[in-house]
């Protein structure tokens, strides 16, 4: 374990420069550059709030302000975008970097760390843009926003554990990647991001409760919209699950490493 961190430290420059290049490559030669990173999720928020709150007249129970729904949406999307970016990029991580893995010698663990680094950076920029919009809407965030730090860590741990496991399996069974892409879409709708859990019919309630992303997303919404501390007891099992997934993923990664290069 210690040597893992030592290798990461030795390759810190490579990791930082990869994250930077990631960002730069994505927006190279586009006029709005990094603004796209913020514009895209915001467009999504705008579409959802327009369709759901204006057209379908969905209201957040207990609030009267129109902006409450938009804030609810953004809080959920902040969490979900981090989760889905890390998961989906880890899913194809080894397949995409096949050339590098086959030809160069470097600590393999750098690759997921780079993904996490660049996803966190994207998430930070998105968060700052959201704060700006909250200010325009007249929504003052409270100190409970500090909960986002441990929540982000939990989201990263859960998505990294899941993504890495699937990513390793995807090298050998490419169907995993295809299936997971569909699962992620479905998962989004099984998570109370665009709707409130209360409006869901009873039969589906238990499904939503079993979804480990539900407590995480709800905690985001609690701290951003309501300025309240999240339900720590209800979240304990997700923390346990994330830790378990992370350990399993590392074990699987260790076991599969020698075979991986041969198959890629």
């Amino acid at each position: 374990m210690l040597e893992l961190f030592r290798a990461l430290w030795r390759y810190r420059f490579f990791i930082v420069s990869s994250v930077r290049n990631d960002l730069r490559a994505r927006f190279a030669r586009s006029h709005f550059g990094a603004a796209w990173m913020v514009l895209q999720p915001l467009a999504q928020v705008a579409i959802f709030s327009l369709v759901l709150s204006e057209v379908l007249a969905a209201r957040l129970p207990g609030t009267t302000s129109k902006s409450a729904y938009a804030i609810y949406l953004m809080a959920g999307l902040l969490s979900w975008s981090l989760f889905s970016e890390i998961t989906s990029r880890c899913l194809t991580l080894f397949v995409d970097n096949a050339g590098l893995l086959k030809k160069m010698v470097f600590p393999r663990i750098c690759l997921p760390v780079i993904v996490v680094g660049s996803a966190l950076l994207n998430n930070l920029l998105l968060f700052m843009a959201m704060l700006l919009i909250f200010a325009l809407m007249g929504h003052a965030p409270s100190l409970e926003l500090a909960w986002l730090l441990p929540l982000t860590a939990l989201t990263v741990a859960f998505s990294l554990g899941l993504g890495l496991m699937m990513g390793v399996l995807n090298v050998f069974l490419r169907d995993v990647g295809q299936v997971m892409a569909i699962v992620l879409q479905l998962w989004f709708w099984l998570t109370p991001i665009v709707y409130m859990p209360s409006i869901v019919p009873g039969g589906f309630q238990s499904w939503i409760a079993l979804n480990p992303m539900t407590p995480i997303v709800q905690a985001y919404q609690q701290s951003i919209l309501h300025g309240q501390a999240p339900d720590l007891v209800g979240m304990a099992w997700v923390v346990g699950l994330a830790a378990l997934l992370l350990v399993l993923a590392l074990l699987l990664f260790r076991r599969a490493s020698p075979d991986m290069v041969d198959v890629l």
């Binding site: 030795r10 390759y11 420059f13 490579f14 420069s17 990869s18 290049n21 730069r24 490559a25 190279a28 030669r29 050339g99 590098l100 893995l101 086959k102 030809k103 160069m104 010698v105 470097f106 399996l169 050998f172 069974l173 699987l252 076991r255 599969a256 490493s257 020698p258 075979d259 290069v261 041969d262």
Partner: protein, 408 residues
């Protein structure tokens, strides 16, 4: 420090395939899952490399060369045996790995050097030198997508060799770029070698191996089948290729320890080879520039549609000094009947430098020995050139100068 830099012991690498991939996953979990096929890409390979040696790894496609390199560099893990390595290993397996098209040459260099594990301070120190080596001027700060492939190669090679490693592994990447740059990169590799870097080169290019290496390892079907001097191994390798087409190979130890290899399908053979002076007397020692006659007698055992004689004069290291054949001189014989004896008389002035040389002969049907190789005979004749009456010079070519001086 120990003289032995790299030790490969009973190395083996197996590629397993399973009837279903989930069985492989269960195999990691420790369940006994039998694999359907096992393909040993490499097995029972052992060798040692001392500090400062230069070794060529040769073999046909699929012989296990790339697998061996992967195991030595550490990108793949061995199933049997071990690789013990001391010092920094640097591999030029593929140039331009990890280059991003939208980044500038400089940014890519920083990134690629980071990938090699260098720290930021080291990279900043290396950059000016890489820039100078690449010689691409202002392009260094332009996005790589605007580069020609040659320019990209220059930058990539510059980064890959910015720091002198203890072991440098080169995989056929040498024959890239323009001639000037090829020379430059060869020079750098040679310099590394003089400073004590051990070279491990994989190439099909005989001359590249001969120029840089002093030892060669021949792999075939995952086994090490020959380990020795470059010339000997290369000759054996050529013969091996010929053998694949049902040809025979004989290897004979000559006086002085050199090994002669004869291969071919045997429809025709060289009976006599001799070097003679202007009066027709056989000679072994030749003066620089002396007119000589190479006499070769070939006998046709089975009728052949076309007969071409080729010969190559090689230096001590086996590098070609001069070679041609009767196809190029438009003297090929058509429809040669069995029993025919052909005497070739080849006259030329021995305009080559002092040293020992060998002549290889080939009886073939076209300009290459790949189509029909009746007989290929390495070291068919050995002779020595001595400089008896010319001013001292070095090199293998006698390029008589006329030097004029103007002193003012």
């Amino acid at each position: 420090m120990s003289a032995c830099l790299l030790e490969v012991e009973d190395l083996g690498k197996v590629y397993r395939s399973y009837s279903a991939e989930w069985r492989r996953v269960l195999h990691w979990m420790g369940l006994p899952m039998a694999s359907v096929t096992e393909h040993w890409a490499l097995r029972h390979v052992s060798f040692k490399i001392e500090r400062g040696e230069a070794i060529g790894i040769v073999g046909q496609n699929g012989a296990g060369k790339s697998t061996l390199l992967k195991l030595v560099t550490g990108t793949a893990r061995a199933n049997e045996g071990k690789v013990a390595c001391i010092g920094r290993v640097s591999a030029i397996l593929e140039l331009g790995m990890g280059f991003g098209p939208d980044l500038t040459g400089r940014e890519n260099c920083r990134h690629a050097a980071g990938l090699m594990g260098h720290s930021e301070a080291e990279i900043s120190r290396m950059l000016p030198e890489i820039e100078a080596f690449a010689e691409i001027g202002d392009y260094f700060d332009q996005p790589v997508r605007t580069y020609s492939s040659g320019m990209q190669m220059r930058v990539a090679f510059g980064v890959a060799t910015a720091v002198r490693p203890d072991i440098l592994i080169v995989d056929e990447a040498l024959a890239v770029g323009d001639t000037y740059f090829q020379h430059k990169s060869f020079d750098r590799i040679r310099q590394f070698r003089e400073q004590g870097t051990t070279l491990l080169i994989v190439s099909h290019d005989r001359s590249a191996v001969q120029q840089l290496c002093d030892r060669a390892i021949l792999l075939d079907k995952g086994r090490l089948i020959k380990d020795g001097g470059v010339e000997e191994v290369m000759d054996f390798y050529n013969a091996l290729i010929a053998e694949r087409e049902n040809q025979t190979v004989t290897v004979r130890q000559l006086d002085g320890g050199r090994v002669q290899t004869i291969s071919g399908t045997g429809e025709a053979s060289v009976e006599k080879v001799g070097l003679h002076d202007a009066r027709g007397e056989p000679i072994e020692f030749v003066n620089v520039g002396q007119p000589v006659e190479l006499r070769i007698q070939a006998r046709v055992h089975q009728s052949v549609p076309r007969l071409v004689l080729g010969y190559i004069i090689r230096d001590r290291l086996g590098q070609a000094i001069y070679g041609t054949n009767t196809h190029y001189t438009r003297q090929a014989l058509e429809a040669v009947a069995a029993g025919t004896v052909v005497d070739y008389s080849i006259r030329f002035p021995m305009n080559i430098g002092a040293g020992t040389y060998s002549i290889s002969t080939a009886l073939v049907s076209t300009e290459t020995h790949l189509e029909n190789n009746y007989e290929w005979r390495d070291l068919a004749l050995l002779f020595t050139v001595a400089n008896l009456d010319k001013p001292f010079f070095v090199g293998t070519a006698w390029v008589a100068p006329s030097i004029e001086l103007t002193v003012s």
